[in-house]
């Protein structure tokens, strides 16, 4: 058993509106004259610390719990899982 850090990034699926990202882009970044920025998407990240036998099972376990416990709604959002 070793300890792994698993990062789960939850964001709206591409094509689905993201008012938070748009607001940051339009009302902060562009007004601050960073005109080379063309898009901002907001996301939420959960950092799990988990004890598992290997990287693969750590990822699998976290994915499973995200699905089962409705950590995100698959209708709207998608998750990216990174294990460190």
């Amino acid at each position: 058993m070793s300890t792994y850090t698993v990062h789960v990034t939850i964001e709206n699926k591409p094509g689905i509106n993201d008012p938070e990202g748009e607001t940051i882009l339009n009302d902060l970044v562009l007004k601050g004259n960073y005109s080379s920025v063309t898009k901002i998407r907001s996301a939420k990240m959960l950092k799990f610390t988990i004890k598992e036998k290997d990287k693969k099972s750590a990822e699998k376990k976290v994915r499973k719990l995200c699905d089962e416990l409705r950590i995100y709604n698959p209708m709207v959002s998608q998750i990216t899982v990174d294990v460190f």
């Binding site: 709206n12 094509g15 008012p19 409705r70 209708m75 709207v76």
Partner: protein, 720 residues
């Protein structure tokens, strides 16, 4: 996206050629049940829609009522059931947004929101809990962000909503009569799209709402953006003040297709638009996608050429995007172009008026058996039964819900959530009482009398604040109308509502029909939700009770436990005799209560509804921290056993609180009005007691039940 075969043939015949792909998409969106009301339109005409206070203009999305002194109140109700069932947070929130835009379409400022929420069994089903929690948060986040108070509503749980959600939202608007937008347009006027950008979200949403939910078909999700909505409210109201708006329509189900065709049809004009002018969120959207996208927070405005610059300035000031997408013609055609190419050219009245259907009806087989009552054993400990009922999800305090809503912003809310009806202060010194009510348990057993009961309950609730009902809105929610048995329940409920509305002269000023509410386990129970508005000329009645006051019950308690919380929650039995409203008795009781209120003789009024008399008395005690002794022998009634007397949900009953010194006068008025009534108890001590001459039937401490009543829902949601 498709039309039925006969609809396709009808369209072809009407336009005399094969429709183009874009035309088919536009028509399919507009002819969906959700937008066209093709099953229900013929029957809805039976509801009375006129009255001395009702103002109707072409193309109004909301009902308008004259409240005197050159002020008007607007009201509208909608649901967002399908979207909320797959994404409760966004679905419920965008539901709030949609109904608010209907209110600003009339040129009035939204001043209140009410919502009716229904979910599956949250005690057993974690998914129902998830839906409930997120729908409430969605409403709270959206309503609180835009500064409109959520003043009331109702929450109910029933197994028939398993894996599903009913989210009904009603909104109230208020404004000056002379600022009402009259909706006119002349050739040469400009068509402007204002608000959020058009994206791929919600493509085919209204079609989706017109199909039963299937897991692979759950794509139409909309993301709420309350800040844009707030800017739109302010921009539209300022544009109204500066006379930039000749006509306005909210973009809801069916998107641009629906808004353009309905506006052109109702104003008898033509509209030519170029899809390239629509501001889009993502590149590469096809013209068809632009026409049927249901992106939220958008309004369609028709403005005079000379006013365009002012309108653009207003939009700039509020950081709201706006684009001129077309012009008004006099050919009554809906003309969609992409630069020089014509994509669709259809008569607006053909698009806006789907061929109506005559759906067959058949009395459902289950109704034959369901009125038969099973002999149930009366529980030996009725104190425990009452305690159990008061902490059940349907009857427990909904403080956990309305506590998340800002219900005071705008400082109009005089009577706040948690009482019979919410009361709002109007600028002309009068007060508006509002309430929405539904009761699927009654409606399942008897659709007609169940629906009448919901209507009467909403009336009773506004009467309890001293208001006289002046208008109603109905939201009729049923399963698949292609099933004759379901369609029968719809027709029956509608007939009941029409009868009651006519008898009481309460005009129906708006409403909505939502079909295809099907869960994996089958159709929902018939769920009409009725909203009633009442007007109070002087101060509203703010119910209070304290030691020494007397308790009077107006109205007869009958053997009507069918669909009651007592039968269903305590005994797990669905069936029995549904409570029926006796129109004559109902009117007499209502008038008598209002007469007492006018003479300032009562301190409070509370209606008996879900849970019956025992629950209603307990609510008075818990809200006022005072005990009450009720004598069961005194209750006006048919010959009934104790449990019937305590938990029967008979309609037309009011609990009145009064000071002892007014009792003689009250009794005189009630006797003269010929109503059944009696002084059934008095407020004293710290116990809720129901007794006969010889024994205590129920004896509970107010403290103890209050704790359970206030906390049980929150505990259930947060701790499972």
């Amino acid at each position: 996206m498709s039309l039925e075969k006969q609809e396709y043939e009808y369209l072809e015949k009407k336009i005399g050629r094969k429709p183009t792909k874009t035309e088919l998409n536009i028509v399919a969106a507009e002819w969906s049940e959700h937008c066209s009301y093709k099953s229900s339109k013929k029957h809805l005409k039976t509801l009375p829609m006129k009255g001395p206070r009702v103002i109707s203009e072409k193309g109004f999305d909301s009902g308008v009522l004259d409240v005197g002194d050159d002020y008007i109140v607007t009201v509208h109700i909608e649901s967002h059931n399908h979207p909320s069932a797959v994404e409760p947070y966004g679905g419920a929130a965008t539901g709030v947004g949609g109904v608010i835009r209907d209110i600003i379409s009339a040129g009035t400022r939204p001043i209140a929101i009410l919502d009716g929420l229904r979910f599956g069994n949250i005690e057993k089903d974690p998914h129902a809990r998830w839906l409930f929690k997120n729908a409430v948060t969605g409403i709270a986040d959206y309503g609180n962000c835009i500064g409109i108070p959520t003043v009331g509503g109702e929450v109910e749980f029933d197994d028939c909503y398993s894996n599903y959600a009913l989210v009904d939202v009603a909104s109230i608007g208020f404004g000056k009569k002379d600022r009402l937008i009259k909706n006119t347009a002349q050739k040469g006027d400009l068509v402007v799209l204002l608000g959020g950008s058009t994206g791929r979200d919600g493509i085919g949403g209204s079609q989706f709402a017109s199909d039963s939910l299937e897991s692979e078909n759950r794509s139409a999700v909309q993301i709420p953006d309350p800040f844009i909505e707030k800017l739109i409210i302010e921009a539209v109201l300022e544009a109204r003040n500066q006379k930039c708006i000749k006509a306005v329509k909210d973009l809801g189900g069916g998107g641009l297709s629906c808004a353009i065709s309905e506006t052109a049809d109702s104003l008898s004009i033509g509209i030519e638009l170029d899809v390239d002018s629509v501001h889009t969120r993502e590149p590469g959207m096809s013209p068809d996608e632009i026409m049927i996208s249901e992106s939220q927070e958008r309004m369609l405005i028709i403005t005079d050429k000379t006013k365009l610059e002012t309108l653009q300035d207003i939009c700039k000031k509020f950081h709201v995007q706006c684009s001129v997408i077309g012009t008004v013609k006099d050919n009554k055609m809906m003309h969609v172009k992409k630069e020089k190419n014509t994509l669709a050219l259809l008569p607006a009245n053909v698009v806006a008026n789907a061929p109506l259907l005559d759906r067959p009806t058949k009395k459902p087989a289950y109704l034959k058996e369901i009125q038969n009552e099973k002999k149930l054993k009366q529980s030996s400990n009725l104190s425990l039964v009452l305690l159990k009922l008061l902490s059940s999800p349907n009857l427990a305090s909904k403080r956990w819900v309305y506590g998340q809503y800002d219900h005071e912003v705008g400082i109009r809310t005089v009577i706040k959530p948690g009482y019979d009806a919410a009361v709002l202060r109007l600028d002309n010194g009068k007060f508006l009482a509002v309430k929405i009510d539904g009761n699927p348990k009654h409606c399942y057993i008897d659709p007609r009398h169940g629906a009448i009961g919901c209507f009467e309950e909403a009336c009773r609730n506004v009467v309890c604040t001293g208001a006289k009902p002046i208008g109603m809105v109905d939201h009729l929610q049923f399963g698949n109308p292609e099933d004759p048995e379901i369609f029968w329940t719809f027709i029956e409920a509608l007939k009941g509502l029409a009868d009651f509305a006519k008898h009481f002269d309460i005009p129906c000023v708006g409403g909505k029909v939502s079909f295809y509410n099907e869960t994996p386990k089958g159709p929902i129970k018939p769920t009409p939700v009725i909203g009633v508005l009442g007007l109070i000329d002087k101060k509203p009645l703010h119910t209070s009770a304290s030691k020494g006051d007397v308790l009077i019950l107006v109205g007869k308690t009958k053997n009507e436990l069918g669909g009651s919380e007592y039968f269903e929650y305590i005994h797990g039995f669905v069936g029995g005799t549904c409570p029926k409203v006796d129109f004559k008795e109902s009117k007499e009781n209502m008038d008598a209560v209002l007469a007492l209120f006018k003479k300032d003789l009562i301190k409070g009024a509370h209606d008996c509804s879900k849970g019956g008399l025992a629950v209603a008395v307990s609510e008075l005690c818990m809200q006022n921290n005072v005990g009450c002794k009720v004598s069961l022998e005194k209750i006006p009634r048919e010959k009934l056993s104790h449990d019937l007397l305590l938990f029967s949900e008979s309609h037309s009953r009011y609990l009145l609180v009064a000071q002892k010194q007014n009792l003689v006068q009250i009794q005189k008025i009630l006797s003269q009005s010929n109503v059944s009534y009696d002084v059934i108890g008095s407020f004293e001590g710290d116990q809720i007691q129901f007794k006969t001459d010889s024994a205590n039937i129920i004896d509970l401490s107010v403290d103890k039940v209050q704790k359970r009543w206030l906390r049980s829902l929150e505990d259930l949601v947060l701790h499972g």
